[in-house]
Symmetry: C2
Subunit: 219 residues, 2 copies
DNA sequence: GCAACGCATCCTGTATGCAGCATGCACACA
DNA sequence: TGTGTGCATGCTGCATACAGGATGCGTTGC
């Protein structure tokens, strides 16, 4: 038997699945910001008991997606405009660092991989398939931070980004916003391919500043 | 009755207390990196049942202090030299940003508060009270990031810093290291008082780079 | 009519029970 | 003697039960 083909069985633990599930429910707006989370109710809806559900809520609380009030359970965290602006400032610092490291450390193959994702995304953009475009967009951002080769940076960035997902998703609804964001993405990939860290940092910063103007009206 | 004096009763939830407790146990080395965490055993030692303990472990897992392996429970995360270097790079980015924002936004009273902490710390330094010095040192770092006025930045920074606490604590054991770190702290406070963001960023970066040379031998 | 108190209900927080899987050891066989 | 297999034990993962506090509504008194 070919050793190469043997992959470890993917182990699921229920609370991990629930973390993903509930996070998606928050991003998609099924669980609205400010609303309380009834453990019994949500558990019944998802077909699980309260124990793994509570464990998932603790995890999400540490990510900042949920606030836990003693004696009153979980509340979906509501982002204030100030919160969003603060998070974008942190993201600028992190992405700028990630971009610099990526220009230094990434292999040509890795950068080519981002280009592939980017071209596919622009195809979805041309076809107007917004949801898929958006998901691939997120994947690209994650990929770029991963290129830095700094796991801590990537996971920290990912945690903050996931908290902003819902807002950025809504913020991209307007076609004009979508267009501008796509153009910025083109610049990003080009800067990365040239390994021009200064240009990359500049466009990443601009992209996030533009994100602020895009999402500001809808908060 | 004076309304001003009424403070809300501090609500303890067991799992929150456990998070603090277990985090301290990891920092103090009671739970050694790489060792498995036996829920029943640890629960009995702490006098709690497994449920809140497990919830606390999920929380710590999301902070990166513990790795959760499905079917095998929790393992205290062991930091590689590369991990530490990566985390310091991220801390440099975050503290530099925090310093810049603090120079811009902090009130004179807030900065004076940091000065008070700093002077107290230098007193402990002069008396050779290392543990108290170290704790106040951490408090100062937290205070400076708090001065930025950016909650996301402060909490992100705090999460990463807590993962490094144990290593930095050990790294400060050598007197020479302690001396150097204390001198850097003097520069920091002076830069902050002058609201010289460039100088502050420079010394913060240098302080963290020095941290690397201090902790590198002991990883 | 309004406000405050009391009660009933619900929900959270914690403990415990049970099933399934990991692990280490002993024994058998080569 | 070394290796592989099978079993016993113990631990994790999840469900459920129970206690205490939060919440909302009805009632009563002013």
């Amino acid at each position: 038997m070919d050793q190469q083909t043997i992959l470890p069985v993917v182990r699921h633990s229920l609370h991990d699945d629930l973390v993903e599930r509930i996070r998606d429910m928050i991003i998609e707006g099924v669980l609205e910001p400010g609303s309380r989370i009834h453990e019994g109710q949500l558990g019944k809806a998802l077909g699980v008991s309260r124990t793994p559900l509570r464990e998932a809520l603790k995890f999400l609380a540490s990510e900042g997606l949920i606030d836990l009030v003693p004696g009153r359970g979980g509340i979906v965290h509501r982002l204030s405009p100030r919160d969003v602006r603060n998070m974008l400032d942190v993201l600028i610092a992190l992405e700028t660092l990630a971009g610099r490291l990526a220009c230094l450390n990434a292999s040509d193959e890795q950068i080519a991989g981002v280009r592939v994702l980017h071209d596919r995304m622009m195809g979805l953009y041309a076809d107007g398939r917004r949801l898929e475009y958006y998901k691939l967009n997120q994947a690209i951002h994650s990929a770029v931070t991963a290129l830095s080769g700094n796991d801590c940076l990537a996971s920290t960035h990912g945690a903050i980004q996931s908290r902003l997902k819902r807002i950025r998703f809504i913020g991209n609804e307007a076609p004009a916003n979508w267009d501008a964001a796509a153009r910025e993405h083109v610049e990003m990939v080009e800067a990365l391919e040239k390994r021009d860290d200064v240009a990359l940092a500049e466009v990443l910063t601009r992209h996030l500043e533009e994100t602020w103007t895009r999402v500001r009206p809808i908060i």
